[in-house]
């Protein structure tokens, strides 16, 4: 008897990775290439920031910051290496910094602003479905917020970006065994949180 296959990554990415020549053009400042680069990676970067930060506007800002930083630092990037881990690393560090700054500012409302909800409210023809969807978003946010930023990043990259361990290693700087260990403990934590939520729901 086996356990269920672990990785059910949502949002399978069928896009082609950006090629080395194309990156070289962007490195030299070609406007069209830069635009294409941003277009190709913006949603992915945003998705990671959204999972890390839990709030749409802040995630948009963080994603934009990461993209700008990546492009303006292209000259220090080795074109032969895959681009995705590199830009996600920039995004990851940016998000972790933001979370640290957030904690320092110590807001009492730890759950995240209603801004995320406003974005969706009033746009949907089916309010009940939207409500349930928001509930799910909130539930996931609550669960993720109880993890440390590093654990949150590992979970995000593993489950929602479908990244192999080696790529996660490149993004986070953690060793593969550290990643596996964090992932396992994060799953355990989430399992407990889910039990609690069911008890108090």
């Amino acid at each position: 008897m086996k356990g269920l296959p672990v990785r059910m990554s949502v949002g399978e990415d069928g896009q082609e990775a950006i090629e080395g020549d194309f990156l070289r053009l962007a490195q030299r400042g070609d406007a069209a290439s830069i635009t294409k680069l941003v277009e190709t990676y913006q949603q992915k970067v945003f998705n990671v920031c959204y999972r890390m930060l839990g709030e749409v506007t802040e995630a948009e800002d963080a994603a934009q910051e990461a993209l700008v930083k990546a492009v303006t630092n292209l000259h220090s990037y080795d074109v032969e290496r895959p681009f995705k881990p590199w830009i996600l690393r920039i995004a990851s560090n940016g998000c972790i910094d933001r979370i640290r700054r957030r904690k320092d500012a110590l807001s009492l409302d730890g759950m995240g602003e209603d801004g995320a909800w406003e974005w969706q409210a009033g746009n949907s023809p089916n309010p009940e479905r939207e409500y349930l969807r928001n509930e799910r978003h909130a539930a996931v946010r609550a669960v993720l917020e109880d993890l440390s930023p590093a654990d949150r990043m590992v979970v995000t990259l593993f489950y929602w970006e479908g990244m192999p361990y080696i790529e996660i290693e490149e993004v986070t700087g953690l060793t593969v065994s550290a990643i596996k260990s964090r992932l396992f403990r994060a799953r355990r934590t989430i399992a407990e949180l889910l039990v609690q939520e069911e008890t108090y729901a």
């Binding site: 008897m1 086996k2 356990g3 269920l4 296959p5 672990v6 059910m8 990554s9 949502v10 949002g11 400042g29 406007a31 830069i34 635009t35 941003v38 277009e39 913006q42 949603q43 945003f46 998705n47 959204y50 999972r51 749409v56 995630a59 948009e60 994603a63 934009q64 993209l67 700008v68 492009v71 303006t72 000259h75 220090s76 974005w119 969706q120 969807r133 799910r136 978003h137 996931v140 669960v143 979970v155 489950y159 929602w160 596996k180 260990s181 992932l183 396992f184 403990r185 799953r187 355990r188 989430i190 399992a191 889910l194 039990v195």
Partner: protein
């Protein structure tokens, strides 16, 4: 059957074992062992069920919202602005270096021609200061931006060639002074 010494990753309740279970990395023998164990061990069954529930939960998470339509343009504009700023900054830095170097060269030339000893002293000082400050600046820029502005290197080399004690200015001064001495000697 005697108990064999087990590696940590073969201990049934260890984290390392669980990680291998979840990653589907058990050997066929181990799978058999695991299957048999699950039939007997309630806590492992519950653990497996809980972890499976977690996977299900995480996989059913709704996708993040799509980015607004103007996001790409806004980002590209921000990039353009940042690059313009950088270019302006390096142009400014370069111009500053050229201006300072020109002042230095003129200063050294004038002092050499008025008093030889003063000129030599200034040249030594200029050599040290120029060398140190230019090298520091260029290293800092190299590290920060990984680019060398060609005219900055050129300027530094020209200044160095002109101003150091065995450089062009000194050579010119020596030649000029000795020709003056000869002229005086002949007079």
């Amino acid at each position: 059957m005697p108990e064999k010494l087990k590696m940590p990753s073969q201990e049934l309740h260890s984290e390392a074992w669980w990680i291998r279970v979840l990653d589907d990395e058990l050997t066929p023998d181990e799978e058999v062992r695991w299957g048999a164990h699950l039939l007997q061990c309630e806590s492992c069954r519950q653990e497996l069920a809980a972890l499976t529930r977690v996977d299900l939960f995480l996989s059913q998470v709704p996708a993040p919202p799509a980015l607004p339509a103007g996001f790409t343009d806004a980002t590209v504009q921000l990039i353009a602005r940042r690059q313009r700023w950088r270019r302006m900054l390096s142009f400014l830095a370069g111009s500053l270096v050229i201006a300072l170097t020109s002042l230095l060269v003129v200063g050294v030339a004038r002092s050499t021609l008025s008093s030889f000893e003063l000129g030599v002293g200034v040249m030594f000082f200029a050599r040290d200061t120029l060398f140190h400050s230019l090298v520091q600046t260029m290293l800092a820029l190299l590290v920060r931006w990984r680019t060398i502005l060609p005219y900055m290197v050129g300027t530094a080399l020209v200044a160095y060639a002109l101003v150091v004690p065995d450089g062009l200015l000194m050579t010119f001064a020596v030649v000029w002074l000795s020709s003056r001495r000869r002229a005086r000697g002949m007079a």
